[in-house]
Amino acid sequence: MEVTLQVGCAGEANASLAEALDWETSGKLRPLLDALAPLLQDLEPSRTSYGAEFCEHLLPSPEALRAVREACARPFTLLTPYVGDSGLAMLRALFPVLRAGDEVIFSDWGVLNVLHREFPELVPVQGRLLNKSLRDPRVMGLYAEAGPGPTLTVLQGSNLDNRAYTAMLRRFGVKRAEIDGLPQGNDLATASMELTACLPYGFISTARVCQAAGLGYRKGEKFQPAAPCKQECQTFLLEHAYTNSPFENRDQKFWLKGNSYFYFHTPEIVKALLRAAREGALARLHLQTRLPMLANGLAA
């Protein structure tokens, strides 16, 4: 089983899982991670990932990427987000830093187009933002409890179920896709592509308008799409408790970091993903032991 570990700087480029499980400093998230640690302890990273899936303002500089790439002794994956034209220009400056055969996770069709046309030596991987499936943790688990039927079949599937679609992706050099562990369960049998599951954080939603960036603006100027920021997202975590649920899950938690909301995989979801990996339905696991909203600094 292949395992990718996301790192945040050159000093972490070859970290073991035991080291990575110590990185989380949040008092809210740490206990959740500690509870999962026994399930993950036998995994050992064989690949390193670095970058940003959810925000172009968190992309590393070419210098920071070069430092991580040079320090990294393992196969390497660069994470990239959805982007405006300015973000795409930033990525065009990052791709030449990579080596032939390095993977690039794309979350935007424009990024795939650029990779295919201008950087054919890099290996594109479809990111989880483009793996379309509903992940709404407020309610999706209830559909699983309701039992099998056409609705659950759709909710456990995704756009990767369509062979015409995966054949099109292959024409663009895409042979692998990343997915989330779904609250309603994943039907991996129908996906016609090599799959990597991200854990333990699933994304709920993300935006070009960033709540955290609003801290840097006067009231009437806040919440503009793609507004410049000072990475205020790195200064706080906002935890939501689903206290207004019409169901019994009023203790459920969601977390906002910057422009994106996440849910934490339950032990049941993680066990299902590990089982799928052992049985070969998943080719790889992508471990992100901190919320995948890292500032990607130079520091060792």
């Binding site: 405006g84 992940r135 079949t153 909710l155 679609y165 099109m168 129908t190 939603s205 009231k219 975590l237």
Partner: protein
């Protein structure tokens, strides 16, 4: 630059046309779909009940009547994805809506469906939905592989980006942008939640949840905590505006909520092809008022009325200057 209006049934056609609608879009959800998926899995981005046409006969009648007035009609197939089974169902529907009803285009967000439609070579064209999250010129170039005649840019694309994209695409496809009603706090194409009535939209549901900040900066203080709380309250206020100012229509039935009227002169100058009025499920009165409002501003812009005068007129039409001046009700930030 055309005015694209939502329509729910043929009875709304006459008034929308008279008010200035130049294109129409609607949803279509047959009973078979509702029976199979029981309201939990939507065929398009609106609830299966009350916002779409339901029979091919009604669709054909609407398309014929619209065409008689010179208006094209587009149908939304803009769910974020369809599984293999669903894709076959949607393709069968598309075939009939195109060849039997004369629908002019399908509004599509799932790249797989775009691919299948391009291979099927139907009379109806394809418009890329905003749910496809087409945020840059290269993304449009990629999607042109599947033959769309139009791309609808998401609400989060700024005026400067729209101008740059329109210049870049030239005549290879049309560009449509949002003009009135309904916002989205998140990037619509990257929001993996449901708007099912049992839980409501995630963005609005968040405002009712208990929250707790955890500070990761150098030091935390009562003042910093208040600063974070204020920002969260501002964000919730912004979401309130996106959600139609909490209700979607004033007491008199006029449209409330997100608006791009002040940007019409800039959008016209950029060469944008179509302005979308959102709200298939809205009341006929709100639809009518929305089209009238947009037509009034577009007419002035087309006739060269200076931008500051157009903006002044737009604000007066909304009849709520305090909301216009909040800065939270605008799709686009306009330099006056």
């Amino acid at each position: 630059m055309k005015i694209l209006a939502p329509i729910r049934e043929i009875d709304e056609l006459e008034m929308l046309h008279a008010a200035g609608a130049e294109e129409l879009f609607c949803g279509f959800v047959p009973k078979d779909w509702m029976d199979r998926y029981q309201g939990a899995v939507w065929l398009n981005r609106r609830s299966t009940k009350g916002s779409s046409l339901e029979t091919l006969g009604d669709m054909r009648a609407l398309a014929d009547a619209a065409h008689a007035k010179g208006l094209p009609i587009f149908v939304t197939f803009n769910a974020p994805y369809y599984t293999a089974e669903q894709t076959d169902l949607v393709m069968e529907l598309a075939q009939r809506l195109s060849e039997e009803c004369g629908v002019d285009a399908f509004i599509v967000s799932d790249v797989n469906l775009m691919l299948r439609l391009s291979e099927a070579r139907l009379h109806a064209g394809t418009h890329v939905s905003s749910v496809a999250a087409t945020l840059n010129l290269e993304a449009i170039r990629f999607l042109l592989n599947f033959g769309p005649s139009r791309v609808i840019l998401p609400r989060s694309v700024t005026l400067a980006e729209i101008a740059s994209i329109k210049k870049g695409v030239g005549n290879s496809c049309e560009i449509e942008v949002f003009m009135l009603n309904d916002g989205c706090a998140f990037e619509e194409g990257f929001c993996a939640t449901t708007h099912h009535h049992s839980v409501g939209a995630f963005c609005t549901s968040l405002s009712g949840m208990q929250t707790d900040f955890e500070w990761h900066g150098r030091y935390f203080s009562v003042r910093r905590h208040a600063w974070l709380r204020r920002n969260l309250e501002d964000y919730r206020e912004w979401v309130w505006y996106l959600n139609g100012n909490g209700c979607g229509a004033t007491a008199k039935g006029l449209p409330y909520g997100p608006c791009g009227l002040c940007a019409v002169p800039d959008l016209l100058k950029s060469g944008v092809d179509s302005l979308k009025i959102v709200g298939r499920e809205a009341s006929p009165l709100k639809k009518l008022a929305s089209v009238k409002m947009v037509a009034d501003i577009v007419h002035r812009a087309r006739h060269g009325v200076p931008k500051p005068v157009v903006i002044e007129r737009a604000i007066s039409l909304r009849k709520a200057p305090e909301h216009c001046h909040s800065g939270y009700m605008c799709y686009y930030k306009v330099d006056a």
